[in-house]
């Protein structure tokens, strides 16, 4: 079990099959965000993160015992004057039954965030129930705000 950081197009290309699996799993969720409902948008996000030479993007793939990919995580440094020094976890997916502990992946995210001198890491969950929030609380996250939407 290992976690690999993807930093180039050459490293992404062999993962296309796994990326399609991630997309199918994430986009079919009833509450999936709009930007994750189109495969081209999803791929653009993945490639842009992998090719980001400024170091503001982090693309992690967790590997199983046979070195096959079984998890994906995308994080971005979105620091600016308005939000302060913060990173956002844009997407996290783990194949059902994967043995790689999520904590290993999360530790990599936190060490990346520390290396960039960030103050906070945030992530958004569409699970509004307390049950759905348990996963995030387990990793030390706490709910700080609720997102509200008004369709026009």
């Amino acid at each position: 079990m290992n976690v690999a950081e993807i930093k180039s197009v050459e490293q992404v290309t062999p993962l296309l099959g796994f990326l399609r699996e991630c997309f199918d799993a994430v986009s079919t969720r009833s509450k999936a965000p709009e930007k994750l409902k189109k495969f081209d948008a999803f791929l653009k996000l993945v490639f842009a993160t992998a090719c980001d030479r400024s170091g503001k993007g982090l693309l992690l793939v967790s590997l199983g015992e046979d070195s096959t990919p079984n998890g994906l995580l995308l994080a971005h440094d979105v620091s600016n004057h308005f939000v302060g020094r913060r990173a956002v976890i844009s997407l996290a997916y783990m194949r059902p039954g994967a043995q790689t502990p999520g904590r290993i992946v999360m530790d990599r995210v936190l060490s990346w965030a520390r290396s960039r001198c960030l103050d906070v890491v945030t992530c958004t969950s569409v699970h509004l129930s307390k049950f759905g929030q348990r996963l995030y609380r387990r990793y030390g996250f706490r709910p700080v705000a609720v997102e509200l939407m008004l369709p026009l």
């Binding site: 906070v120 706490r142 709910p143 700080v144 509200l148």
Partner: protein
Amino acid sequence: MQLLHQRTNDLRVIVIDSLETLLEQWPFMQDGLERMQSSFKAFGRVSPEALLKLVLRAVGEYPKGGVVFVVHSMNTPAFYGIVCDCSTDFTPRTCCVYAMYSSGSPEATKAAMDFITDWARKQEFRTVQTWSPRINGSGFRFFEKSMGFKRCAVLFEKAI
């Protein structure tokens, strides 16, 4: 030039589109910020300078990408809102209500929401988004019953 949107005899919406108008309305905005911070612990500490930066950004993007407005009820300021474009690639055009304050007048709140939806439709936005740090019943009631929003996600944060 100061733009006035007369809603009824008692309610009018003032759009801040110049430094002159901003200076006139700023005391109410700063007072609203202080009141919110003293009333709601969850709101955290936002400095007047941070609010001013946000206002200047929205005023700079007016009319296509942002708007700052104050609703006056009986010639008294009762509500303010700061709205900016927050669209991203591959998503419907979305604007975000970054800050708002109501002094407690339901009519002013209704007028403010009507103004936001009218403005957003005119600028061809598809959805209006906002974030609230008040994760409790009264916070949800305000946004869902008074303003018509629906909860769609929870933001989690971990300090490093």
